[in-house]
């Protein structure tokens, strides 16, 4: 489902990275562990196509994303990859529900309010639907970010350090939630983190 082959990246006048090959099955689980400065976020951006590798290629669902450009790449990412960033950000002027409807709207998919409300219900956020994101607590914001990542039924969910700021109990809770939602959606789940606590939780892990 996800395959990287010999990808390298060099920042303009900055450090260069050479990443080990990564592969993940359909509906698979993969933990990518790495210390700070090893280029974890860079790798996540390369996989999602937010960055294009200097050399090598990334294949998602048999599509070489390194060959896609511009709007086609934006649309492909929007349809097939759900990203959960380290800190949850939203379009502040839109309600929680409208933020959830952004991914289908931006990818030109069908906009289903009922589906969005259902996901919010599943994540215990139904009463927040019509509030502005600034009113959410950190935990709620993270759950809304998860909801947003799965609404388009992506094949791949990418999460950047989802547990780094949490205590043990909450960290396990979030991982359980992520796995549960990935299963419901039928998506593969790739987590990029330095959090060693998660090592025991995942069968497959790659160190970078």
């Amino acid at each position: 489902m996800l395959q990287t082959k010999n990808i390298q990246f060099k920042y303009d006048g900055g450090p260069s990275f050479h990443f080990p090959d990564i592969s993940c099955e359909e509906k698979g689980r993969l933990l990518i562990l790495g210390e700070s400065g090893k280029g974890k976020t860079t790798l996540l951006h390369l996989i999602s196509g937010l960055l294009q590798p200097t050399s090598g290629e990334v294949t998602i669902k048999n599509q070489n994303t390194s060959a896609l450009k511009g709007a086609a790449l934006d649309r492909f990412r929007g349809k097939h990859v759900g990203i959960i960033f380290q800190t949850a950000h939203f379009v502040q002027s839109l309600t929680v529900l409208d933020n959830l409807l952004l991914p289908p709207f931006l990818t030109g998919s069908k906009i289903e309010r009922s589906k969005a409300l259902e996901i919010l219900q599943r994540l215990n956020l139904k009463e927040k639907a019509f509030q502005l994101p600034s009113k959410l607590s950190v935990g709620e914001a993270q759950r809304v970010a998860i909801a947003r990542a799965i609404i388009n039924n992506p094949s791949l969910i990418l999460a950047d350090e989802p547990t780094s700021a949490l205590d043990d109990k909450n960290a396990i809770e979030v991982i359980r939630l992520l796995e549960e939602q990935a299963s419901t959606t039928g998506a593969a789940l790739v987590i990029v983190t330095h959090d060693q606590r998660l090592k025991d939780h995942f069968k497959d892990h790659v160190n970078i």
Binding site: L50, D74, V91, L94, L102
Partner: protein
Amino acid sequence: MNLLKISWRNIIANPLNTTLSVILLAFGVGIISLLLLLEKQITEKFDRNIKDIDFVLGAKGSPVQLILANVYHVDAPTGNIKVEDAQKILKNPMVKDYIPLAYGDNYENYRIVGTNFKYPEHYGCQLAEGRLFSAPFEVTIGQKVAQEAKLKVGDTFTSVHGFDKEANEEDHHHATPFRVVGIFDRSDCAIDNLILTQVESVWMVHDHEEEHVHDETHDHEHSKEMTAYLIKKRNPLAAMMLANSTRETNMQIADPAIEINRLSQGFGIGTDTMKAIAILIMILSFVSVFISLYNSLKQRRYELALMRSMGGTRRTLFTIILQEGLLLVSIGFLVGALLSRIGLLVLSSILKENFHYELNDLGISPSELVLLAVTLLTGIVASLLPAVRAVRMDISKTLSNG
């Protein structure tokens, strides 16, 4: 969910910046649009009243006042001239036709003017009811007079001397009542606000008045006076010859077109200053829209990058920001257009009270459409740089720094 909604929500999420931009633009647009409306309507009204009148013959004094008093009926007359003196000039072969005007008293601040049938005929006034005045003390009244003073055909009223409606009303009432025999249709010229009668009625009222005030032994002849004559000329040379013939008399000849032109040039300095101020405000509003979009872009960099990560394209971001600029200036334009209408209505009510003049055409003029186009263009230009910056943004870097 649509792009317009996103743009709209972003605009109202920033009420202070938005309000500033809208207020500035609304004032700029409002002033310009008010000036355009005024210019159009005043020119139209002025032109309609001048209608083929080449000269006005009247007593010496300010020529502008002579025109305002006798063509537009908005100023006090310059005085009266003797009929026999005037006849010497009117006999001139250069005079093709003339209409006499004798100012009488007034009723409820509407002027009673002695004249003949040529006057309403000249302005193409049609009768709505009744007939034209044909005997002394019969009057045919303008549509507005009928409405405002609540006069119907068959009603009678007594006139009041001078224009102070309140003061000494009793003392100055004239004895012989006037009788309304007809009402004109609305003509959109001065006649709407006039009470027309025969010249003789005006003279008779005055004789009567003089009898009251002075002793019985006075010469009636000196009452045969006119306030002015509206003159149509026979050929272009008439101007000089007629002007010459009034020399060494107490009369003058004035050309309405020239005097009104002189007056509106005086106006023009005022309106030009206003226009300059309005354009300055428009430029300020342009800067304000630009700064507002630019600032909000700085705050929203992450949001915009986020939209890209969720499938939004460069074009999506460009559209959102361009739309925000256009929305801002459109709201500004609408508020401005509304303000100018309110301003016009206020001015109109002032004019109506003082001069019986109304400005009531609130429609959109072609020059306003040009103003709209300029405004929209301003919006596009102001949002172009922020939009281009959003498109060029490095999303990976922006998202990593969040």
